[in-house]
Structures are given as C-alpha cells and as structure tokens.
C-alpha cells in the first residue's frame, strides 16, 4: 500500500498518464476485467435429467453457448446492471422439445450459478 502511494506520487510528478496501465511493444492493451462469469445447468422438469443442446444467450448480445452432455454451460459476458438470460431449444426434437425460458439477473457480483428447469412440450 505504501509502495503504491509512492509510485503514484513519483509518477504524478512527471505529469504523464498511462503510468501503471501500460502496453508492451508487441502486446495488447490491458484488460480492465469488466466481465462476469455465468454458469449453470439445464435439466428437464419431467425427467430431472440434463438437457443437451439448449442455446443460452444474453439478451441484446452476440454471445451464446449451447449446453453440453451434462446440461452445463458457462461463459463470460460484459458487466451490466442486469442480464436477461435466454434459454432456447433450437435443435428441433434432437434432444427432446422444451419450452424456452428467460431469466432476469440483477445485482450480480462476479459470478453466478443458475439451475434451470425446462418444461417439455
């Protein structure tokens, strides 16, 4: 902590910016960590078994992922005040036919785990 104050003081005296958030010659800009981690599992309400192939997406975002054999999904997405997570069965009857579902998340810290149960059509 003491060292950080000294760094800021010495850096500040030179009146330049980007003192601590720098970029190597052939590197990338810094990641400011503005994301959260959303994971969970989708199961069938009728059988209590995992459902594969459900498309999980965040409203208004390009990102999506499909649940795996264990019905699990996980992804990072950018920080927001709230998130509408959309669960859709788009693979016809390949893994059963399920009714879609939306879940609204608010006040999320850095990670969230969702247990989702889908109703079979």
């Amino acid at each position: 902590m003491k060292q950080n104050w000294r760094r800021k003081l010495l850096g500040g005296l030179s009146l330049t910016s980007a003192l601590f958030i720098f970029q190597a010659c052939y590197g990338t800009p810094h990641d400011f960590g503005l994301d959260i981690f959303i994971e969970g599992q989708v199961k069938s309400e009728k059988t209590d078994k995992p459902v594969k192939g459900i498309k999980v997406s965040v409203s208004d975002k390009m990102q999506f992922e499909y649940t795996n054999e264990e019905g699990k999904f996980s992804f990072y997405t950018e920080t927001a005040d709230s998130y509408k997570i959309i669960f859709e069965d788009i693979d016809s009857n390949q893994n059963g036919i399920f009714v879609g579902k939306d879940t609204l998340l608010t006040n999320i810290n850095k990670t969230v785990y969702l247990d989702i149960v889908l109703e079979e059509k």
């Binding site: 030179s14 910016s17 010659c25 990338t28 800009p29 810094h30 981690f37 990102q63 997405t77």
Partner: protein
C-alpha cells in the same frame, strides 16, 4: 525547464518501478506455428514450423508459481498465430480459473464471428489485431491475397464489442507510409478506438527486404503524422514503446519512453525459456520453466533488464540523452550486444539535419 523537471520526476519513477519490479504483464508464446508467412516476421514463423506448441498444463504450472498476482496482472497470448491452436478457448478459460485475465495478439485471419463469440465466452478481455495497410499493401506484407478481407472482418467484430479493450497495430514501411491518412480514415470508419504504429526492426526475414525499413526522413514523417493526428483526438493514436524519440516524447505517446521489459513484463517462450518481451534476443533468457520456479526466478534474476548500465557503449556511450533513454528498447540489442541496433533518437537528429 518544466519539461526537464518532469523528465527527472519520471526518471525517479522508473527507478522505483525497477526496484519493486511488479510483474504486471506476462507473455505466453504458446505456438510458433503460423497460418501466414509475412515478409516482416521477426520470429521467422511459418506454416510448416515443426516446433511443438507448449502444452497448456506446462504454462499453468509456471503461472501457479505466482502466488500473489498484482491487481492489473494479465497474460498476453502470442505466437506464431495463437488462433491456430485448437484449444485456445480452453487455454483462456483455464488462465481465468487460475486467477489471471488474458488477452491475445492475432493477425486476424482466423478471427470470424464464431471465433469472436467463443473467445469472449472464454473470457478474452483485450485484443490486438495487425493491419499493415490498405488492401494491396496489407496483402503484400502478409504475403497472401485474402489477408485484408479477413482482418477487415476481424476488426469489425472486435470494434463491435464494448467488452474488449482492443487496438490495431500497423508496421509502417516504405509502401504504406503514404497510406497512413487513408488507414486512419478507414479505422475511424470502422469504429476502432485505438491505433498503434510501429516501425520494422531489421531482424528475422525483415533484414533482407530494404523496402520494409523507413528512411530517417520517413521515420520523422511518421512521427509528425502521429503528432498531428493526436491533436485531432479522433482515435487514440500512438507510437509504440519501441524506442526513445527525443523531441517527440509526449507528442506521440501518453507517457515518456520506458522499456519495462524484465521490470513489469515477463514472458514464457515456446521452449519454456523465461525472458521479457518475446521480440528480445533469446540470449537474454534468464532460465526455463522446465528447470526453474518461474516466480522465484522473476524475483531473483533479470539483472540485465533491471540494471541497464551495461548498455552505455557503442552509440549510447557518448549520448547526452542516455540518462533518460538508457539504451533504447531492449529488443534493439542483439548478438554480441556491443551496440544498439536502432537508435530512434539518432534517426530523428539525422532527419532534422537533412
């Protein structure tokens, strides 16, 4: 006089940074394979490179030696072309699980919408894409006709993401220096927020192609371009941190020149070598993750990076700006380390004398 005081303050800041040498930025050279065969490649990477990729587990073992990572610690995945690895998303996810953020340097050739989404899902937080000119010039340097259209797509995707901290880099050479204004307009049209400009160092394949290397006058022209466009504030344009640029310091970058290699920047290279930036001569390697504890070595070695007094020789010996420059970027020291390969300051002086 005021600038002099600022430089002296910055010099004290550099000394303090060197003393505490907090590791903020760790390159991982995960592959030497590449899908392109660029004319200017400093690493001599190629499609048929037979060097095996580093197993993810080996990198993670080294990463885990860093028990207390700094607040802004990040892993920068580089190559070769990192997207050629089939497990790149897994690499990213595991790096996040091990407590670090990660970013990627890419030529953009494989960066399509599907890849963009899967990388974001895996926690990609920052990205640098290479664009070396308008279509004809870029394709010439990248040595393939489809390269521009591919990177054009990649740039559109990256610019559309508010999650990514993203920039474009351009290696300026004799063919594209006259296109800089057009590239500038193209990038603004694409919604790109940040653009960094480099020159090409005569190493690897580049040393045999004079057309890649700017004349002194063109180098000054490049700095004048950056200086002028920065005033317009339309894009975060800067000269890379490749070297000390004397009278152009603060005109072409946000901060004074500071080569942080081995001070805040480390690397794990393809063969496990531990060094600083990957473009630094491999003779500077400080050890190897297959024999050494990475973080113990970071703390205990790296003397040539943290005490640069050995660079006061050759051109640097009698230079009046040495106290501030301290031997230019370390990637400019090669082979017998008897002289600095490129002195940016000297190039400017020569151009001014013309």
């Amino acid at each position: 006089m005021f600038l002099g005081l600022r430089k002296k303050s910055f010099q004290r800041f550099k000394k303090f940074e060197t003393k505490i040498h907090e590791l903020n930025y760790l390159f991982w050279e995960c592959t030497l394979r590449c899908n392109l065969s660029c004319l200017h490649c400093g690493s001599d990477c190629s499609k048929d490179n037979s060097t095996e990729d580093m197993p993810l587990a080996d990198f993670l073992s080294a990463l885990d030696t860093i028990k207390s990572k700094s607040d802004n610690f990040t892993v920068v995945i580089t190559g070769g072309e990192p997207l050629i690895r089939k497990d790149i998303e897994l690499c990213g996810r595991e790096i996040r699980k091990h407590g670090a953020r990660w970013s990627l340097v890419s030529n953009g050739y494989l960066y399509d919408q599907q890849k963009h989404i899967s990388l974001l899902n895996a926690g990609l937080g920052a990205l640098t894409l290479s664009l070396d000119g308008l279509e004809e010039t870029h394709n010439w340097l990248r040595n393939t006709n489809r390269s521009f259209s591919k990177v054009d797509t990649a740039i559109s995707l990256a610019a559309s993401s508010s999650r990514l901290n993203f920039d474009v880099v351009t290696c300026v050479n004799r063919r594209n220096i006259h296109e800089l204004s057009s590239i500038y307009n193209y990038l603004i049209g694409k919604g790109v927020k940040a653009w960094r400009l480099f020159t090409i160092v005569p190493i690897g394949r580049a040393k045999n192609i004079p057309e890649l290397l700017l004349t002194d006058f063109q180098f000054k022209e490049l700095l004048d371009f950056i200086s002028l466009k920065r005033k317009q504030n339309s894009i975060d344009l800067k000269f890379s941190c490749e070297g000390y640029v004397g009278p152009y310091e603060l005109k072409v970058r946000d901060s004074f020149f500071f080569c942080r290699a081995g001070i805040n920047i480390g690397s794990i290279l393809i063969d496990g070598s531990i060094s600083a930036c990957p473009n630094i001569d491999r003779a500077f390697s400080q050890g190897n993750i297959y024999k050494d504890n990475f973080y113990e070595l970071w703390e205990s070695r790296f003397q040539p990076f943290r005490d640069r007094s050995w660079t006061k020789k050759g051109k640097c010996e009698s230079c009046s700006d040495y106290w501030f420059c301290q031997g230019n970027g370390l990637h400019n020291w090669h082979n017998n380390k008897k002289n600095v390969l490129i002195c940016h300051h000297e190039r400017i002086q020569k151009a001014l004398e013309c």
